[in-house]
C-alpha cells in the first residue's frame, strides 16, 4: 500500500487543527479561571505561564502589549481569571491560551468588606455633604500625598504647572499600597494639618486592583480625611474606581490629573477674569460719564439755558397787555362819565330860566331878589328887568 498519496505533513496537520480551533467561536473568546504556575516574565515583556486546577493544566501566553496593562503583578499560586482565545502554536504542536486580560480572583470577599464598611461609615455620617469643606479658589500651596515615584506625581506636576506656571506644590510622600500604607497616610494627613503645610491636599494613587487600592478603603484613613481641617481632594485609581476615601473626601477627582485641575486655578482664566473686571470698570465709568454728559446737554438745551431773556420778554409782554387793558378800562370809564355829564347838562339846560327868557319872558328883581308877586312892589320901587340879552333899570309908577 502506498501511503504517500494520502499522508499529510505534520505542518499540514497542525495547520488543520489550528483552523479547526480558530473557526470555533467559543474558543476564540473565552474566560478561564485557574491558578497560575510556572510564571515567567520574559525580558521581551511577554508573560508565559500555565493555568491549572486540581486535575488539569493549559499553557498561557500574554503578549507585552496586553501585559503592560495589568494592574497587578501575577505570581505563582495566584488565582486569576484570564480572558483570551485558544489557538495552536504550530511549531510545537501545542494549543494554548493567548491571554488579553487578567483579573485576580478572590475579589469577592474583599468587595463585601468594602461594601460593609461603606455602609457603616455612611451611617456614621462620614460622607455627609454638610461636612464637606469648600476647595479654595486660589490655594497658595497644594499639598500632595502620594508616592514620590511613578506617573501620579508627574501627572499632577505637569497639569498643575501647565495651569499655573508659578504653582507651589508640596509633596509629602506616602506609600500607596501595602500593609503600612494606611497608617502612613493617616500620619501624613495629620502632619499637614498640624503644621498647616498646605491650603488644599490632593490624596492620589494610580489605578490598581481592589487589593492595591485597599489602604484607601481603611477605616483609619476615612476618619483622618473626615477630621482634616484642610480640604482634601481624593484621586484614587481610575475613573471607575470608587474608594471609601473618595466618599469621605471634600471633593472626588476621577484621576490624579483631574485632581490637579480641580486644585490649581488656570492662571490664564484668572488673568482674563481680572482683565475683564478692569474692562467692565472702565466701560461702566465711561457709561456713567456719558449719561452725565447727556443730562448736562439736556439742561443746556432747555429754553431757560438757551434763551434766558425769553422769560423776561414774556413777562414784559404780559405787563404791556395788562397796561393796555387798564388803559382801555380807564377810557371806557371816562367815556361813560362823559356821556352821563352831557345828559345831566342837557337836563340842566332844560330847567334853566335863561332859556325861557329867550322866548320873550323876563324876570323882575328887586334888591337882587326875584319878584314873584305884585304885592312885593310899591310905587317908586326901583327894579331890574332881566331880559335875555341883559338888564334894565325901571321904577314902579
Amino acid at each position: 500500500m502506498n501511503y504517500e498519496n494520502i499522508a499529510v505533513s505534520v505542518t499540514e496537520l497542525n495547520q488543520y487543527i489550528k483552523n479547526k480551533i480558530a473557526s470555533d467561536e467559543a474558543l476564540s473568546n473565552i474566560i478561564v479561571k485557574g491558578e497560575i504556575s510556572n510564571f515567567k516574565h520574559h525580558y521581551t515583556g511577554h508573560m508565559y505561564f500555565t493555568l491549572k486546577d486540581e486535575n488539569s493544566l493549559i499553557k498561557c501566553i500574554m503578549f507585552k502589549t496586553y501585559a503592560e496593562k495589568l494592574d497587578f503583578t501575577p505570581k505563582d499560586g495566584m488565582k486569576v481569571f484570564v480572558v483570551g482565545g485558544v489557538s495552536v502554536f504550530e511549531r510545537d504542536g501545542i494549543y494554548q491560551i493567548y491571554v488579553k486580560a487578567m483579573k485576580e480572583d478572590g475579589i469577592g470577599a474583599l468587595y463585601r468588606k468594602y461594601e460593609e464598611l461603606k455602609r457603616e461609615l455612611e451611617a456614621e455620617g462620614l460622607f455627609s455633604e454638610e461636612h464637606k469643606k469648600t476647595i479654595p479658589k486660589m490655594p497658595k500651596i497644594i499639598g500632595v500625598l502620594t508616592s514620590q515615584t511613578g506617573s501620579v506625581i508627574r501627572d499632577i506636576i505637569n497639569v498643575s504647572t501647565r495651569r499655573n506656571p508659578n504653582v507651589y506644590i508640596r509633596l509629602l510622600p506616602v506609600p500607596v499600597q501595602g500593609e503600612d500604607a494606611a497608617p502612613k497616610i493617616v500620619q501624613a494627613i495629620r502632619l499637614m494639618n498640624e503644621k498647616k503645610l498646605a491650603d488644599v491636599i490632593i490624596l492620589a494613587r494610580g489605578g490598581g486592583s481592589l487589593e492595591d487600592l485597599w489602604p484607601f478603603n481603611e477605616e483609619i484613613v476615612a476618619h483622618a480625611i473626615y477630621e482634616s481641617e484642610l480640604p482634601i481632594i481624593s484621586a484614587v485609581g481610575h475613573e471607575t474606581d470608587f474608594t471609601i476615601a473618595d466618599f469621605v473626601a471634600d471633593l472626588r477627582a476621577p484621576t490624579p490629573s483631574a485632581a490637579a485641575e480641580l486644585a490649581v486655578p488656570d492662571m490664564y482664566e484668572v488673568k482674563q477674569r481680572i482683565l475683564q473686571s478692569e474692562n467692565r470698570l472702565k466701560l461702566a465709568l465711561s457709561k456713567k460719564l456719558e449719561i452725565m454728559k447727556l443730562r448736562f446737554e439736556k439742561c443746556m438745551n432747555s429754553k431757560v439755558m438757551k434763551d434766558p431773556y425769553r422769560i423776561v420778554q414774556d413777562n414784559y409782554v404780559r405787563i404791556d397787555s395788562y397796561i393796555k387793558e387798564m388803559e382801555h378800562q380807564i377810557q371806557n370809564k371816562t367815556q361813560k362819565e362823559k356821556s352821563k355829564y352831557i345828559e345831566l347838562v342837557s337836563k340842566l339846560d332844560a330847567l334853566s330860566p335863561l332859556k325861557t327868557l329867550t322866548r320873550g319872558y323876563s324876570l323882575i328883581e328887586k334888591d337882587g331878589k326875584l319878584v314873584k308877586s305884585t304885592k312885593e312892589l310899591e310905587t317908586g320901587d326901583k327894579i331890574q328887568i332881566r331880559l335875555t340879552d341883559g338888564k334894565k333899570e325901571a321904577q314902579i309908577t
Binding site: V167, L191, I274, L285, K287
Partner: protein, 74 residues
C-alpha cells in the same frame, strides 16, 4: 490692616464692578469706586506675578520637616 488674600481681593473687585455697572452711584462715588477697583485689579495681578514656582518634597527628619526641591524622575 491685614493684607487681604487674592480671593478676597477678587471678590471685592467683582463686587465693585457689579456696583458700578448698576449705575446708581453719583459721579463722584463712581470715580471713587472705579479707582478702588483698578487698585484691586493691580493688586491681584501683582499677587499673581509675585508667586514663584516651587515644587518641593517634605522629608521627616525626626520631629523636623525638611523641605527640598523635588524633581519628578521620568
Amino acid at each position: 490692616m491685614a493684607k487681604a488674600n487674592f480671593e478676597e481681593n477678587m471678590e471685592n473687585l467683582e463686587k465693585i464692578v457689579a456696583e458700578l455697572e448698576k449705575g446708581d452711584l453719583n459721579l463722584e462715588k463712581s470715580v471713587e469706586k472705579f479707582e478702588e477697583g483698578i487698585k484691586l485689579s493691580k493688586e491681584c495681578n501683582k499677587m499673581l506675578e509675585d508667586a514663584e514656582k516651587k515644587i518641593t518634597i517634605l522629608l521627616k527628619q525626626g520631629d523636623e520637616i525638611e523641605e527640598n526641591n523635588f524633581e519628578a524622575n521620568e
